[in-house]
């Protein structure tokens, strides 16, 4: 059984963030690309900056700051991480 992948977020200094009514627009200096991200993606990026983590660990970090309405957050968080990885904003360690 393979362990769940651990991710790290691109350093804060290399990502400019501007909030535009509820969504966050990010400019990633390394790639020169711009992304528009919706919650919970920005919160996940923030939580990931505390240190490398897999989806379950991230879920726990988020639970310390936020309340969730749904039960099975782990699958959602894993899917968000995959999206962020595709965009180049996080990568696996």
């Amino acid at each position: 059984m393979t362990a769940a992948p651990r991710y790290i977020a691109e350093h804060r200094d290399r990502v400019r963030a501007v909030e535009l009514d509820g969504l966050v627009v990010l400019f990633h200096e390394t790639s020169g690309m711009t992304h528009i991200v919706a919650p919970p993606a920005p919160e996940i990026l923030d939580a990931l900056r505390e240190g490398p983590a897999d989806a379950a660990t991230l879920l726990a970090r988020l639970a310390a700051r936020f309340a969730f309405e749904q039960k099975d957050g782990a699958e959602a968080v894993a899917a968000r991480l995959a999206e962020l990885e595709q965009a180049g904003l996080v990568r696996r360690t």
Partner: protein, 134 residues
Amino acid sequence: MSGTDNEKAGIEAFVPSRRTVLVLGAAAASTVVTIRPALAQTAGSVLNCEIPVPGPHAAGSYIAQDGSTVAAMTPNAHPPMMRPLRGQEAKALLQGSVPPGVNPSSAQAYANYIRRLQSGMSGFTCYASLQMPR
């Protein structure tokens, strides 16, 4: 019990009593949109473009049904177009209709040729500009 409760209440008074709800959403949802360059679209609308079928790199070649270029006179392949396709005509072809002046039996092959165009090939910027969402 009241003493410790009051103490707890005192600390919690400095912290929001209800944490913000974060909606994690469905796994299948999409939360990241990457801005795609709009250059081809806007520049393409600025100029009328055309796509030669096939391009000069394969001048004289015939077009197979799947859009690849093959030797002239290959059986079941289609002859080159006599004149380049205008942008609007290429769009129509890609959508399944046959622009005037195009042989209907060759239309599918020509459409596949256009779909196979890659960066650097003649007609690619025209094709790319047709693809950009408006």
